[in-house]
């Protein structure tokens, strides 16, 4: 099977979907000639032209708001927000408008748009080019939130997102773009939204994670294996809706759970998973539900000494697993 980097999988999926569906457009800052600041849309402008690969003004609210309108009138827009950190000017359009269009119109209108945005730290991006913003959106009924952790899933989930009839937030960890490679079939496969995946089987401790942290969790599992600890890794993939069954099944089996996310801990997405498990898996728990997450400071500082301090690492995950295993 062909090997692709994470970003290649995304780029090719955008291209394939545009070939497949004339109504699909890509819009955002620098997505045209430049091909995006990470080159996720590289080549699309040449193939599809400026009508369908639209360099917008520097206005995120516009990017999302116009996408909503375009979707209402028959297009299938895939807007890009250059960095997840810059999604806030569009917060109102996403939360008040895209998320509620279907509900408020009692089903008369819908809003099939897929908002792509690179997120995450560890690349010297500092306070405003490193943020994890999934918690904000995963809280909002009407939105779907997806974060792939492999090139395979990136492709399969992006396909499903674009073809989905609801607004999807599709977050891509920028540190994975070129660092992560994997097998990606040339077929038209999809990975359905709303399904988590056990990416490694184990029976002592469940580690639940997504995005870069799902990759780190696999590394951590290797690390603890040498200590004779068997960790099961669950990759959430779809943060909303969430596949609770797969999570519960794993935790009921292991009785112990570490939830990992890069975002600052307090009020982060992993809190919801912990809350669900504390209610629905209570009788199976053999130890406290642990979280390994970013510190509660306003995003990743720039200096490499500070950035290293901030980032969740496979080591930190492994430590938590070890601690819990001996509980």
């Amino acid at each position: 099977m062909p090997i692709r980097t994470y970003i290649e999988a995304i780029r090719e999926t955008l291209r394939d979907e545009m070939r497949r569906d004339d109504s699909m457009i890509v819009l955002g800052e620098d997505v045209g000639k430049k091909g995006g600041v990470f080159l996720a849309t590289d080549g699309l402008f040449d193939e599809f032209g400026g009508d369908r690969v639209v360099d917008t003004p520097l206005s995120e609210s516009l990017i999302v708001g116009a996408s909503i309108g375009a979707a209402v009138n028959g297009l299938r827009p895939v807007p890009e927000i250059q960095f997840a950190d810059f999604i806030y000017p569009a917060f109102n359009q996403i939360v008040s408008e895209a998320a509620r269009m279907r509900y408020r119109s009692n089903g008369a209108f819908s809003c099939p748009i897929t908002i792509r945005a690179p997120y995450g730290g560890g690349v010297h991006g500092a306070l405003y080019h490193s943020q994890s913003v999934e918690a904000f959106f995963a809280h909002v009924p009407g939105l779907k939130v997806v974060i792939p952790s492999t090139p395979y899933d990136a492709r399969g989930l992006l396909r499903s997102s674009i073809r989905d009839d609801d607004p999807v937030l599709f977050f891509e960890h920028k540190k994975m773009y070129r660092a992560i490679r994997g097998e990606v079939p040339d077929t038209d496969y999809t990975v359905p939204l709303g399904r988590a995946q056990v990416t490694r089987e184990g029976n002592q401790v469940t580690v639940i994670a997504y995005g870069l942290m799902a990759a780190y969790a696999l590394e951590a599992a290797e690390l603890v294996e040498s200590d004779g600890i068997s960790a099961e890794i669950v990759d959430v993939r779809s943060l909303r809706p969430l596949d609770v069954e797969t999570l519960l099944e794993s935790v009921r089996k292991t009785g112990k759970c570490v939830i990992v996310y890069e975002d600052n801990e307090f009020g982060g997405y992993g809190a919801e998973i912990a809350a669900i498990l504390a209610e629905q898996a209570f009788d199976y728990l053999d130890g406290p539900i642990k979280r390994v997450a970013g510190p509660d400071v306003p995003a990743v500082p720039y200096s490499h000494t500070l950035e290293d301090w901030f980032m969740v690492s496979p080591d930190r995950i492994a430590d938590a697993v070890r601690e819990l295993a001996t509980y």
């Binding site: 369908r52 516009l62 375009a70 827009p77 408020r104």
Partner: protein, 369 residues
Amino acid sequence: MASTRTKEASEPVLRAATVSANGAAPTAGGAPGEGLGLTREDLLRMYSLIAVTRAIDERMWILNRAGKVPFVISGQGHEGAQVGIAYALRQGYDWMVPYYRSVASVLTFGMTPREILLAQFARAVDPSSGGRQMPGHYGAAQHNILSTSSPVATQVLHAVGIAFAAKLRKTDQVTITYLGEGASNQGDFHEGLNFAGIHKLPVIVVVENNGYAISVPASLESAVEDIATRAAGYGMPGVIVDGADVLACYRAGKEAVERARRGDGPTLIEAKVTRMTAHSSDDQHTKYRTAQELEQEKARDPLPRFRQQLRDAGFLDDKEEARIASEAREIVEDATDWAESQPEPDPATATHHVYAPGTAGAGAPASEG
């Protein structure tokens, strides 16, 4: 009156336009509509639309005072501009993106009085939202009227997006959207007009300037008296029109529609109107408007002015006027009775339409009953 009709009776229609035989455009010098391609039929239809809207609007406030609907927001004073401008569009083919005062606009564009009243009573079959939104948040998919939300000015971006799609898909549709002058100070207004200007989109942005954003007077809302001044900053014409002059509004709308249809791009129309009521049923406007001001503003009511204009031109006589008035009353009675008699939304449906059917998982409530 309406009690003599059964609930199942079909909705009375606005017949003003079809009653009188003379469908030719008036040719006498200075006759209203002259040079605009409007027939007497058109003019009477426009007049009826305004009259019916006003009658519906007044009914809303009565229902509110009677405790039957908890909230009213409406457009008394704005109807002339709304009917005049919207009359230039192709109903149900073009797109309308309204705001909460757009009662006359959506009626002109095809919604019916019953549908307006369904929103007031928040009934299950309300096409705008099935009773989920406050009254005033109109929408109707079959008429290409986009669902309205409450946060102001967001709709400007939806309108430019719709227009962008129309241009790309070459549908020849024109999109019109509306907002208040207060809302024109939101960032979304700026971003939307800029995009419309860059791509010369077939979109019309109408600012209904009534001088207040709730209690905040124009002088504290905007650094300029005329919002239309801003059009130049987006490379589009900015047209100011007296909102009490229905035909001037029609002319502005028609020119903007033609410009859009020709591919010459967007237009910003600012209609100077008056807000004859409090902001909404939750507001006490005497706290920030003097009795004198309120009295003076009555002169800016488009309804009597248009009536007089039609009378002066010999297009309307006592009999016709009375007929339209009684028709309006009948329509309102029917709409009120019918809408009120409709069932309330079933709480079992409250989780429907959060997501597309088939979506499942935590965070996604069951979408089927």
